[in-house]
């Protein structure tokens, strides 16, 4: 009996020790695998969607931003963030004022390509004190990101080898801006605009911009300061009589205030938003032609 019980004790001790060692292996739950990279170019604005096929020919373009949403107002959802992170390339313009969401969102820096790199000089705007609806007045300036509205810069944003599409677009843009210059010469060279963005158009067409920083928010352009600024702009000479809004919703918001000082609100689509039906250049040219038409009527 004794040898058997001794063996049993020894065997049990070894088994227990083995179990104890095995039990120490606590590797926790299996790690979740991240999604593989997709061979797409993710874009988050209209101009990026325009340029992506020229910069990455043959690669599928994935417009992550919903159609009609301005990059300045966009907050990517979790699903949209996943699409950005899983894209092999994320094409952005690279101007924080234009894409403020990039200041608040983790982006894989190695996969982000900026269209407006060091080679393209952007116009700078000085600090302007302004309000958001009834909010407190504050100031900031920065770079004007709408460089695609300038023919030369548009070509510089494209591929080094050149692009037939962009060259044709730049030619069309140049001709339309020349027509705008002639129309404005007769109707008035000053345009009142609710925000920055038309600087390249103004520079090319020889126009003067008066930026009424209404920044029409949900609470409407009811700030006395903004209205006072608008009225003072409208009273000046050489005014075209138009209040150009760069966000479609602002046209309705600004209508009452604009009519009060004798201005006609007009939505100018710079092509900043993504539209699956019409590219940014097409919409920009359309807005320029409509502006020329309106100026011709004023004449």
């Amino acid at each position: 009996m004794a040898p058997r019980s001794g063996r049993r004790v020894l065997t049990s001790a070894l088994c227990l020790a083995s179990l104890a060692l095995a039990g120490c292996r606590d590797d926790g739950p299996g790690p979740a695998r991240r999604a593989d990279l997709r061979d797409v170019v993710a874009v988050t604005s209209g101009p990026a969607a325009l340029l992506a096929p020229e910069l990455f020919p043959g690669v599928e373009v994935d417009p992550v931003i919903p159609a009609g949403v301005h990059p300045g107002e966009w907050r990517p959802s979790d699903a949209e963030l996943d699409r950005l992170l899983s894209a092999r390339t994320v094409l952005i313009l690279g101007v924080q004022e234009f894409e403020p969401w990039t200041q608040r969102t983790a982006l894989p820096a190695s996969r982000v390509k900026r269209v407006l790199g060091d080679g393209i000089a952007l116009l700078e705007v000085g600090t302007v004190t302004h309000t958001h609806g009834n909010g407190a007045a504050h100031s900031h300036g920065g770079q004007v990101a709408t460089a695609w509205s300038d023919p030369q810069r548009l070509l510089a944003m494209g591929p080094d080898r050149g692009s037939d599409v962009l060259e044709a677009g730049a030619e069309g843009l140049k001709a339309t801006l020349f027509a705008l210059e002639r129309a404005a010469a007769l109707a008035g060279r000053a345009l009142i605009v609710t925000d920055h963005g038309l600087e390249y158009v103004a520079e090319a067409a020889g126009l003067e911009l008066r930026i009424a920083m209404l920044e029409c928010g949900e609470s409407g352009p009811t700030s006395p300061k903004g209205l006072h600024q608008l009225a003072s702009f409208a009273k000046r000479k050489d005014d075209s009589g138009l209040l150009i809004c760069l966000v479609e919703a602002d046209v309705e918001r600004a209508r009452a205030s604009a009519e009060e000082v004798g201005l006609t609100p007009f939505f100018f689509d710079l092509g900043a938003t993504y539209d699956p039906e019409r590219d940014s250049l097409d919409r920009l040219l359309g807005s320029l032609e409509r502006l020329i038409e309106l100026l011709s009527q004023i004449k």
Binding site: A2, P3, G6, L14, A17, A20, L21, C24, D26, D27, G28, P29, G30, P31, A32, R33, R34, R75, D78, L81, L85, Q96, P100, Q103, R104, T105, A106, L107, P108, A109, S110, T129, G135, A136, A137, H138, H140
Partner: protein, 388 residues
């Protein structure tokens, strides 16, 4: 069990106390050097594997040990910052995958590692729950942090205030936990991860604007045209919420934003050499190979280990002599028993075989015991590499 094996077993059982004492003595003398060797080996392998997995580290000119230990093991540091422009310069060279690191802050004593999504992919950090911290103000926890603090996705974690008595310093940030990483057995388990933009909020560079309409009117001391004055009782508690996220921004050029280090992962040795020499020649930054730095560091550590190896060998030798003495004296005491074997006609080698089997059995049992003790010690000791 037959023959002398049975006799040896019965003798060992009959003298349990002596057998156990001898087994324990031999096991103890083996356990100490074996454990030291295992720990040193693990330490070496894990330190080197972390260093080998990190081809290049770039930081401000200074102490290369501080730079490497900070970037790899998140050790508290007083490193001079480099700028985001330095990071972009390395990235624009196109010779390496570059990963920014900002390592100045802590949350409840754990290091906050502010980085970009590439870090999680580079270190193969798998999520045990939730998501990577992809938004400003979010963080994800290493497995040890989550376990120790008992926190998980959806909970909040405050950063430690950087300057306790400086009221102009940014307040602690209430970070929302987006996820928890699975254990990796590396220093990543003991860290809090966030996006590098969150670190700039902690620095006070990025900030949001509170909606003055939402603040308790009793805390407003005066309202002027374009300005509102608040009472000193209004202590800012920074938190990024979906409601105020859009107000967070930083002014000026992003190129001047601070970083602690950059991890560079070049695809080829040639790219690594060109990048390293290019950066070090510029003298504006320091580029180090962590393997070289860790080799130098371990060189010192292993000089000390050699001394302990000698001590261990001396211990084993001394124990072996003592055990030999015990068996020698024991055989004298067993003279009558061995004589009986002789009288029974057993060959002379039987007595030698009997004692030899007893020695072998005791040594084998001691080795098994020492092995089990070593394994348990290695597993239950605090993770030395993580605590490095």
């Amino acid at each position: 069990m037959k023959g002398i094996a049975y006799l040896a077993w019965r003798h060992a059982l009959a003298h349990r106390g002596r057998t156990l004492l001898l087994t324990a003595c031999i096991a103890a003398s083996l356990w100490v050097p074996w454990t030291a060797a295992r720990l040193a080996g693990d330490y070496d392998v894990r330190l080197r594997s972390r260093a080998e997995a990190t081809p290049l580290v770039i930081g401000a000119p200074g102490n290369r040990f501080d730079l490497t230990l900070s970037a790899l093991y998140f050790r508290a540091n007083e490193l001079e910052p480099i700028t985001y422009a330095d990071f972009e310069d390395v990235q624009d060279e196109g010779r390496a995958l570059t990963i920014p690191l900002h390592l100045r802050f802590t949350a409840r004593g754990f290091p906050i590692v502010a980085t970009s999504p590439e870090y999680f992919e580079f270190r193969a950090l798998g999520l045990a729950a939730g998501r990577d911290p992809l938004r400003i103000g979010q963080c994800a926890l290493g497995s040890e942090v989550a376990e120790e603090l008992g926190l998980g996705p959806g909970d909040a974690l405050y950063s430690d205030p950087s300057e306790l008595f400086d009221i102009s310093a940014p307040p602690a940030l209430k970070m929302r936990i987006s996820g928890v990483y699975a254990p990796t057995g590396t220093p990543d388990d003991g860290a809090v991860f966030c996006d590098v933009r969150t670190a700039w909020v902690l620095e006070g560079i990025a900030h949001g604007h509170a909606d003055e309409e939402a603040i308790d009117e009793s805390l407003v001391t005066s309202r002027g045209e374009g300005s509102v004055a608040f009472s000193k009782a209004l202590i800012a508690e920074a938190e990024v919420t979906p409601e105020n996220e859009a107000s967070f921004h930083y002014h000026g050029d992003s190129e001047g934003l601070p970083l602690t280090a950059v991890i560079a992962v070049p695809p080829t040795e040639k790219d690594a050499t060109l990048l390293e020499t290019g950066i070090n020649a510029s003298r504006d930054a320091l580029c180090v190979r962590p393997t070289g730095v860790i080799d130098d560091l371990l060189g010192v550590v292993f000089k000390v280990k050699r001394f302990f190896d000698l001590v261990g060998a001396f211990l084993v030798g001394t124990t072996a002599l003592l055990v030999g003495l015990v068996f020698l004296l024991s055989s004298r005491l067993r003279a009558a028993e061995l004589h009986t074997l002789d009288r029974m006609g057993a060959p002379r080698s039987t007595a030698l075989g009997l004692i030899g089997l007893e020695v072998l059995g005791t040594a084998l049992a001691a080795a098994v015991l020492a092995f089990l003790c070593t394994e348990l010690t290695v597993r239950w000791l605090p993770d030395l590499v993580a605590a490095f």
